[in-house]
């Protein structure tokens, strides 16, 4: 592992006890993701891709094995340390957007800066800039419910970038969107990957989507890594390309 390694897992396991049965959500996965990579985690429902993403995000702790993200062994971090990792180390987008419905887009985008205790005077400007970047400057005073799915996902992207993390974790980011809107979102994610040099790990069950945008595809089944293949020439490489 060197400084250009964004994510390193070694025999990573996450097992759950459900009644009498032991569920091996992540079962001995070892992999490395270099900084600036765009990786797609593929697999059917229950294959463990979201569980792996949660471990990398620091939302969950491994049962055994190592998960080192940007040089930090997450298994050894305290709850406070994990919170700091989520705050500064990663940005997350979800299938269901996960914006707070009672807050305007501006307030939603500002929220991680509140946790990071960024100066109040700077916050509004940064949030506005971030929302402008995703093309929502006209919607900053709207609440999530007043927006389309695509707009909500763009807002959640703006929020994920607000504390300038090096790693973007996307869990089915287009799962709730039609194909045209999904493509817009994917283009934005690719732009962050290319222009900002962010490492992107995207969970999806759509192989076609992964082939269009990701530079590397990792296939999971039953919590195990079954295939790890590079995708040298993503087919949707051109800007504005459809799915």
């Amino acid at each position: 592992m060197n400084s250009s390694t964004a994510i390193h897992t070694d025999n990573l396991c996450r097992h759950y006890q459900m009644g009498d049965t032991l569920i091996r959500a992540v079962d001995g996965i070892s992999l490395q993701v270099r900084s600036g990579e765009f990786v797609a985690l593929l697999g059917t429902s229950g294959s463990g891709k979201s569980s792996l993403l949660n471990l990398v995000a620091g939302l969950d702790r491994p049962t055994s094995g190592k998960v080192i993200v940007q040089g930090r062994d997450l298994a050894e971090l305290s709850r406070e340390g994990l919170a700091k990792h989520r705050l500064h180390g990663v940005g997350m987008v979800f299938q269901s957007f996960n914006l707070i419905p009672s807050m305007t887009l501006m307030e939603n985008a500002e929220l991680p800066m509140r946790f990071a205790e960024v100066d109040r005077d700077k916050r509004e400007g940064l949030a506005r800039k971030s929302l402008e970047r995703v093309g929502l400057s006209a919607r900053i005073r709207h609440r999530p419910m007043e927006l389309s799915g695509g707009e909500q996902q763009r807002a959640s992207l703006a929020r994920a970038l607000i504390n300038q993390p090096k790693l973007l974790l996307a869990d089915e980011p287009t799962g709730n969107l039609d194909s045209r809107t999904g493509a817009e979102i994917m283009n934005l994610i690719r732009e962050f990957n290319e222009s900002l040099g962010m490492t992107v790990v995207m969970v999806t069950h759509e192989r076609a989507l992964a082939e269009r945008y990701a530079k590397r595809m990792i296939f999971l089944a039953d919590g195990k890594l079954i295939e790890d293949q590079p995708n040298a020439t993503p087919t949707g490489a051109s800007r504005g390309g459809g799915l």
Partner: protein, 458 residues
């Protein structure tokens, strides 16, 4: 997250579930209100009792009487000390001795006699009492119309309000509106009052006895007094001198040698000896000196009386009353605190997903805990403020109601309710503390929430 941000988010969250949070806050308000209303009444009653006692002027006074006076104030004292017949006479030399004791401001005799006073040719009967110059600063003479005596032996009189009413032929109606002292004073100040009195003078007549034979004459005199003041004194006050309705300067009263009630009991005593007093009032620098002086005076062979014991037991009574009122008041707040716990636990269930989102975005356990704490605290502050206002209103209403009732029973109105600053601040602080303690469990529960589980929650 900073406290400011926590508070801001907390207030926003409280606004989101306005009805439920308002009901919880009203619960706290009612709790605080009952606490404030109960304690304000307790404090008000205590102050009322204190005021009454203060007005009596007996807080810093020891009344000394001779053991020879068998109607002594305190029968218990007769069991100790010299037998009455062997005890010293309370005369001028005894008074001087007492006045030289440490911590004593002054010791003055209580000279009182019932006599006839003539005003505009109409006779009136009243108790007349001598007032020492120090009485000028007595609370009892607050709001007096006219002026105090111009000199120690001036032929001047201060009238008690009811006597002034009698002189003017205005019989006070029971329960009717109080007549203003100023309106009474206007026609009376500067007018003449003719006092008749009986002077006791040593008689030169020899009655065949020895040298110690006591012979004296009682001579009737008249004295013109000028009315200089009308005072709104309470005729039922505990203080001896104020039971009188006409006051003259003590120096004048002494110089008149008016026949005193105890002269009749002391008929065998030599008239040539200096005057014996019924009682001597001893004013002290501070009420805390009362026990010392009482001891010293008792050693001299006199009886003493002070109300220090009465005030002690009174203070104890009010301390107990306040505790009970406080406990009853707090019960409502305890019930309200359960409401806070319930509301916040409900909020956790409702906002599970939101908590998950915040944690995914990087909120620490402390941030989440702080947020719920701030919500509990905000409900506590708002509930405290509204509660104090409500308690104030309730106390005020009880006071008004009581006064209406008192007036119907023909008693003067009284302030039985008092909200001191410390109660206002204390109640708000107490409300916040209770709310924060109630928020402890919900806040730590919210902080412990597993973000993965919480995000899965729909």
């Amino acid at each position: 997250m900073t406290l400011y941000d926590s508070t801001e988010l907390a207030l926003r969250n409280l606004r989101e579930s306005l009805l439920r949070n308002s009901l919880t806050t009203i619960g706290i308000s009612v709790g605080v209100a009952s606490l404030v209303a109960m304690l304000s009444l307790g404090i008000g009653l205590q102050q009322l009792a204190g005021r009454r006692l203060q007005k009596s002027g007996l807080f810093d006074t020891v009344v000394v009487s001779s053991r020879r006076d068998l109607r002594s104030y305190n029968r218990e004292q007769e069991e100790n000390g010299p037998a009455p017949a062997e005890s010293p006479v309370l005369d001028e030399s005894a008074r001087q001795k007492i006045s030289q004791l440490p911590h004593v401001l002054e010791a003055y005799p209580d000279i009182r006699f019932i006599t006839q006073l003539q005003f505009e040719d109409k006779p009136h009967l009243s108790m007349v009492s001598g007032l020492p110059p120090s009485a000028r600063s007595n609370d009892a003479f607050d709001g007096m119309q006219g002026s105090f005596f111009s000199a120690e032996s001036a032929a001047e009189a201060i009238l008690q309000k009811s006597f002034a009413e009698e002189l003017l032929g205005k019989t006070p109606k029971a329960g009717g509106d109080d007549v203003n002292v100023a309106t009474l004073a206007r026609p009376l100040l500067g007018k003449k009052l003719v006092m008749q009195y009986a002077e006791r003078t040593a008689s030169t007549a020899q009655s065949g006895g020895g040298d110690n034979s006591a012979a004296y004459s009682v001579v009737s005199h008249q004295l013109n007094l000028t009315i200089v003041g009308i005072a709104d004194l309470d005729p039922d006050s505990m203080r001896g001198p104020t039971r009188a309705r006409v006051f003259i300067p003590l120096g004048l009263a002494e110089s008149l040698h008016v026949m005193q009630p105890n002269d009749l009991r002391d008929t065998t005593r030599s008239a040539g000896a200096s005057a014996a007093y019924t009682t001597v009032s001893v004013r002290l620098k501070s009420p805390k000196d009362i026990p010392v002086i009482e001891d010293a005076v008792k050693k001299m062979g006199f009886n003493t009386f002070s109300i220090i014991d009465a005030t002690k037991s009174l203070q104890q009574f009010f301390a107990v009353l306040d505790i009970f009122l406080g406990i009853f008041g707090s019960l409502a707040l305890a019930v309200a605190s359960i409401g806070i716990v319930n509301t916040l636990v409900m909020a956790i269930l409702e906002r599970r997903r939101e908590i998950g989102i915040m944690k995914a975005l990087g909120a620490s356990d402390r941030d989440v805990k702080g947020l719920f704490f701030a919500e509990a605290g905000a409900m506590g502050i708002i509930g405290g403020l509204v509660g104090v206002a409500l308690g104030w209103t309730i106390g005020h209403a009880i006071n008004l109601g009581t006064n209406v009732y008192l007036r119907r029973l023909h008693f003067p109105p009284e302030q039985i309710w008092s909200v001191p600053w410390w109660l206002v601040i204390g109640a708000i602080v107490f409300s916040v503390i209770v709310s924060l303690v109630s928020g402890l469990y919900p806040a730590s529960r919210a902080a412990r929430l597993d973000p993965v589980q919480a995000l899965r929650y729909e």
